[in-house]
C-alpha cells in the first residue's frame, strides 16, 4: 500500500512480523544489525531474531533475567533474504532453511503426541 520511494527502518522493519516463503509466521524483526563505516556511514546488513535480540532491548535487570530464563539464542537473517516489505516482511526461503523453526519444531514434537493434533 505504501508507494513511498524510501524505507524508514525503525518504523517499517523493526518489530514487524516475518513470514517465510510459504507465508508461515517465523518470528519478528526483533532487532537489526547495522554496520558503521567511517564518519557516519551506516548500512543495514541483517535482521536479528530471537530471545537474545529481544533481551538486549530491555533495561538492565530485566535484560539479565530475560537472558537467564529465555536463553541467549539469536538468529541472523541476512538482508539479502528479504523479499517483500509490506505490513509484514516476507523472506525468500523457508523458516527451516533460515534456522527460524527450532523452538516451533520442538513444541510440535510435544503437541503431536496428543491425539487430534
Amino acid at each position: 500500500m505504501n508507494q513511498q520511494e524510501y524505507l524508514d527502518i525503525a518504523r517499517q522493519v523493526l518489530d514487524r512480523q516475518l513470514i517465510d516463503s510459504n507465508n508461515i509466521p517465523c518470528g519478528k524483526a526483533d532487532d537489526l544489525e547495522v554496520e558503521c563505516g567511517p564518519g557516519g556511514r551506516l548500512k543495514m546488513t541483517a535482521i536479528l531474531v530471537g530471545p537474545d535480540a529481544r533481551a538486549r532491548r530491555l533495561p538492565g535487570l530485566l535484560r539479565t533475567l530475560a537472558r537467564r530464563f529465555l536463553g541467549d539464542k539469536v538468529v541472523r537473517v541476512p538482508w539479502g533474504e528479504v523479499s517483500v516489505i509490506t505490513s509484514q516482511i516476507k523472506l525468500k526461503s523457508r523458516a527451516s532453511e533460515l534456522g527460524l523453526d527450532g523452538a516451533e519444531r520442538r513444541a510440535a514434537r510435544l503437541i503431536r503426541q496428543i491425539p487430534g493434533a
Partner: protein, 412 residues
C-alpha cells in the same frame, strides 16, 4: 443469503458473549446500590467498545493485523511487552474467575464438592478447545449464552419505573448521604465501564476476524455485527441493573454470589427461571473462560511472532496451542486455591482499566493511518470519538486503584 446468515449468527454470538461473571456482579450491584442512576455508564461503555471493536475488526479485515502486532509495532517493544504482561495477567485472573463461576453454577445444580467441578470444568474446556473448530466454539457458547435473555424478561416483568430508568441513561450523580457514598458511586462507574470495555473482547474479536479470514469486503459486516451485537448485548447489562434496582435494592441485598442473580428469574418464573438462568450463566461464563484464555495465547503468539490461530491444527501452531493449554491449567490451579471468583474478577476488572489506554492507543493510531488503512481509515468522527474515549479511560485508569482502596472494593 449466506452473508445474511453469517451476519445474523455474528450478531447473536456477539450478544450472547457480551456478559461475563464480573459484568454480571457489577451490574446487579450497581442497581442494588444506586438504582437506575448508573445506566448511563452502560451506554457510555457500550459506545466505547463498539468504536474500538469496530476499529480493531476493520484493521484485521483490511491489513490482516491483530491487536498485538499493532501494540508492538506502534507502542514499541518495551511498552508493548509491559502491555502484554499486564493484559495476560488480567486474562489469567478473568479466566480463573469464570472457571470458578462455572464451578459454582454446577454446584448450585448438583451440589458435589466445588473442586470436583473446577476439575470437570477444566477438562470440559480443554476438550472443547482441542477438538472444536473456532467458529463452533464461538457460536455454540455465544448462542447458548443467549439463554441470559431470561434476565431481560425478568427485568421487564419486574415492572421497572420506565421514565426513571430512561432518566438514568442521562449522565447524572444522584444525591447521596455521605462523601464516601460518592466515592463508591465513582468506583462503580469506573468498574462498570471497565467490565463492559474489558480489553480481551477487542483482542479476541480482532483475532477472531482473522480466524474467519476476513477481507476488506467484510468491513460492513464487521460494522453491523459490532454495532447491533454489542448494543443487544448491553441490553443484558441494562436488564441486570434494572433487576438489581427492582429486586435487590428494596430488599437491601448486595448480591455477592452468581447464585443470587438467579433469584430474579426464580421470583418471576419459578423453577424454570432458575434452570434457564443457571444454564445461561454457564454458557456466558464458559464462553468468557475460553475467550480469555485464547486471547492470552493470541496476545503472546502475536507479540513474539509465532504461527497462531485455531484455524491451524494444534500441530500447525504448537507453541500457540501450548500457550492456551498452559493458560487454562494455570487459571484452574489459581481458582482451586479457594479464592472467591467474584473478588478475583473484581480485581481483574479494576486492573484492566489501567491497560485499556495502552491497548486502545495503538488501535486508534493504526485505524487513523491512511498509509496502511487506505480508503478504510477512520473518518474524523471516529478519530474524535476515539480520542474522547482514550481520555476518559486514562482518567478512569488513574482513579481506579485509589478508588478500589478507599472504598474497600465498593463496600463503603
Amino acid at each position: 443469503m449466506k452473508k445474511a446468515l453469517e451476519i445474523f449468527l455474528g450478531i447473536l454470538t456477539a450478544m450472547g458473549g457480551f456478559v461475563e461473571i464480573g459484568e454480571l456482579v457489577f451490574s446487579i450491584n450497581a442497581g442494588a446500590k444506586f438504582g437506575y442512576s448508573l445506566l448511563w455508564v452502560v451506554a457510555l461503555g457500550t459506545i466505547g467498545i463498539i468504536i474500538y471493536g469496530e476499529m480493531a475488526g476493520r484493521i484485521a479485515a483490511v491489513t490482516g493485523q491483530p491487536v498485538f502486532y499493532l501494540i508492538r509495532e506502534r507502542a514499541g517493544f518495551v511498552v508493548g511487552l509491559g502491555t502484554l504482561v499486564a493484559a495476560n495477567l488480567v486474562n489469567l485472573l478473568t479466566c480463573a474467575a469464570e472457571i470458578g463461576g462455572v464451578a459454582i453454577l454446577l454446584k448450585l445444580a448438583l451440589n458435589w464438592p466445588y473442586r470436583v467441578f473446577i476439575l470437570l470444568g477444566l477438562i470440559f474446556f480443554l476438550l472443547v478447545m482441542w477438538f472444536l473448530p473456532f467458529q463452533w466454539i464461538e457460536r455454540t457458547f455465544g448462542l447458548l449464552g443467549l439463554l441470559m435473555v431470561v434476565f431481560m424478561l425478568t427485568a421487564i416483568l419486574l415492572k421497572p419505573d420506565w421514565p426513571q430508568a430512561a432518566a438514568g441513561f442521562i449522565p447524572n450523580v444522584p444525591a447521596l448521604e455521605s462523601p464516601k457514598e460518592y466515592l463508591v458511586y465513582a468506583y462503580f462507574a469506573v468498574a462498570l465501564m471497565s467490565s463492559i470495555m474489558l480489553p480481551y473482547e477487542t483482542y479476541f474479536y480482532a483475532s477472531g476476524g482473522i480466524e474467519d479470514h476476513w477481507t476488506p469486503s467484510d468491513v460492513p459486516l464487521n460494522r453491523i455485527i459490532v454495532t447491533v451485537g454489542f448494543v443487544l448485548g448491553s441490553l443484558l447489562a441494562v436488564a441486570l441493573i434494572i433487576m438489581g434496582a427492582r429486586l435487590f435494592l428494596p430488599n437491601h441485598i448486595e448480591p455477592q454470589l452468581p447464585g443470587s442473580a438467579a433469584l430474579g428469574p426464580v421470583i418471576v418464573f419459578g423453577k424454570w427461571g432458575l434452570a434457564l438462568a443457571l444454564l445461561g450463566m454457564f454458557f456466558a461464563f464458559g464462553g468468557a473462560a475460553i475467550e480469555t484464555c485464547l486471547s492470552a495465547a493470541y496476545n503472546l503468539a502475536q507479540f513474539v511472532g509465532w504461527p497462531w490461530g485455531k484455524f491451524r491444527k494444534p500441530g500447525g501452531a504448537p507453541r500457540f496451542a501450548l500457550a492456551w493449554i498452559t493458560m487454562l491449567i494455570l487459571a484452574g490451579l489459581l481458582i482451586t486455591t479457594g479464592v472467591d471468583p467474584v473478588s478475583v474478577v473484581e480485581y481483574s476488572i479494576i486492573f484492566s482499566v489501567i491497560i485499556l489506554p495502552l491497548t486502545y492507543l495503538p488501535i486508534l493510531l493504526v485505524a487513523a493511518d491512511r498509509t496502511c488503512m487506505g480508503a478504510f481509515a477512520n473518518r474524523w468522527w471516529a478519530n474524535t470519538l476515539g480520542w474522547f474515549y482514550l481520555i476518559i479511560l486514562t482518567i478512569a485508569g488513574l482513579c481506579a486503584i485509589p478508588l478500589l482502596i478507599i472504598t474497600h472494593g465498593g463496600k463503603g
